[in-house]
């Protein structure tokens, strides 16, 4: 019994930490479309406005799954073969942000160019 109440306290603490920020929908989101075909991103260096939240719409036209990943953008998301995903990106400072397919990092990469 003591353990159970203890557990609730913990769960609550984690929930509080997780929900620290209330969900908000940005109204000034910029959408960027990227296609993945033959293990190439197209466009490979999409330009986006700096200072605005971005939504990347990634369509995977290959038959194989990919993992869209970026250290700088802090993104890590699987996209099934023939599937598509939306990836939210925070408002960026001007710069070049590298992204890649985690399963083919050496060959499949691109840069999000915020300006």
């Amino acid at each position: 019994m003591r353990n159970r109440s203890l557990f609730s306290v913990l769960a609550l603490a984690v929930a509080l930490a997780a929900g620290a920020a209330a969900p908000t929908l940005a109204d000034d989101e910029t959408e960027v479309k990227i296609t993945l075909k033959d293990h190439r991103f197209d466009p490979a260096e999409p330009a986006v406005p700096a200072g605005k939240p971005i939504v990347i719409q990634l369509a995977n036209q290959d038959a194989t799954p990919a993992e869209f990943e970026s250290k700088a953008l802090r993104v890590e998301k699987v996209v099934a073969g023939g599937g598509s995903i939306a990836v939210k990106v925070r408002a960026l400072k001007p710069g070049r942000y590298r992204f890649f397919d985690d399963y083919h990092e050496a060959t499949t990469q691109g840069f999000l160019v915020a300006q």
């Binding site: 203890l6 913990l10 930490a17 620290a20 920020a21 990919a66 250290k71 998301k77 599937g83």
Partner: protein
């Protein structure tokens, strides 16, 4: 082949280090090997399911299903680790006293064993689903022969298991009396690292939007994609470009578990060697 080796190795060490720590923590508790085995098995099954339904998962819940799923299972692991630590703190003396009496131990260890089995399952599921997807991709692409793939994956698996074994054997050489303190600390840092990852997924989902700026960038000094960086990432949650929220969640989790572990420890348990007579004024 090299591709398969590297990816499998990378994912295996992330799950394997966690398995190694759990095995060291539960060493000598009867039934623990079975529990760890069951956790690994459940994780492998879960990984296959996650990989099979990756597409559906990605498009679920307005497209953020994958992020929320990851955040949820990571939070579950954090709760289980925290619960284990606190449970061990409050029962530590009893366990230590009866360390040689296996019958007692089974009864007292079983509850927290289950929590650790879940942690193992979650770790294997997360990393395993990536391996499954990657291998499926290689097969589907037809670029490599099945033999090549098999050899690469097997080598990657072997290397990953070796690193995990080093973790385990490194930990069990610590004298039993110190081991408890060491593993308590390890698990606390492990949990904080997982909590920070969960925070990252919530930010990625757009659920948490505050404090999204990068707190620091140490990728030039120690990249978290390098081997050492990855081990540190798994062990203590090292990240080379964390968001401010991640740092806050990490610190808060660390502080909360330390505080709760201390609060639930009977007096004198927290530091067994130099017990009650020390009075600092």
């Amino acid at each position: 082949m090299i591709g398969a080796l590297i990816i499998v190795f990378r994912e295996v060490i992330e799950a394997g280090i966690i398995v190694g720590i759990v095995m060291a923590v539960t060493k000598g508790v009867r039934g623990s090997r079975l529990m760890v085995g069951a956790g690994v098995a459940a994780g492998v099954v879960g990984a296959s399911l996650v990989a099979a339904f990756a597409g559906a998962l990605a498009s679920a819940l307005n497209g953020v299903g994958q992020e929320l799923f990851n955040a949820s299972i990571l939070s579950l692991a954090v709760c289980m680790l925290a619960w284990h630590n606190i449970w061990m703190a409050s029962h530590g003396r009893q366990l230590a006293a009866e360390a040689r009496q296996l019958g007692q131990e089974v009864r007292s260890g079983a509850r927290s064993l289950f929590a650790l089995a879940i942690v193992v399952a979650v770790a294997v599921m997360r990393e395993g689903s990536e391996v499954a997807l990657f291998l499926y991709g290689l097969v589907a692409a037809g670029g490599t022969t099945a033999g090549d793939l098999l050899v690469g994956s097997a080598l990657g698996l072997a290397a990953g298991v070796a690193v995990s074994a080093v973790t385990y054997f490194g930990l069990v050489t610590i004298p039993p009396r110190r081991l408890f303190a060491v593993t308590t600390g390890l698990i606390t840092f492990l949990a904080a690292g997982l909590a920070a990852q969960a925070a990252n997924f919530l930010q990625q989902a757009g659920v948490a939007t505050a404090m999204s700026d990068t707190a620091w960038d140490t990728s030039a000094i120690l990249s978290d994609s390098s081997l050492f960086g990855r081990v540190l990432h798994t062990l203590i949650g090292y990240s080379d470009q964390p968001s401010v929220l991640q740092v806050v969640v990490y610190t808060a989790t660390l502080a909360a578990i330390f505080a709760l572990t201390k609060a639930f420890a009977p007096p004198g348990i927290a530091r067994p060697p130099q017990t009650p007579l020390t009075q600092n004024g």
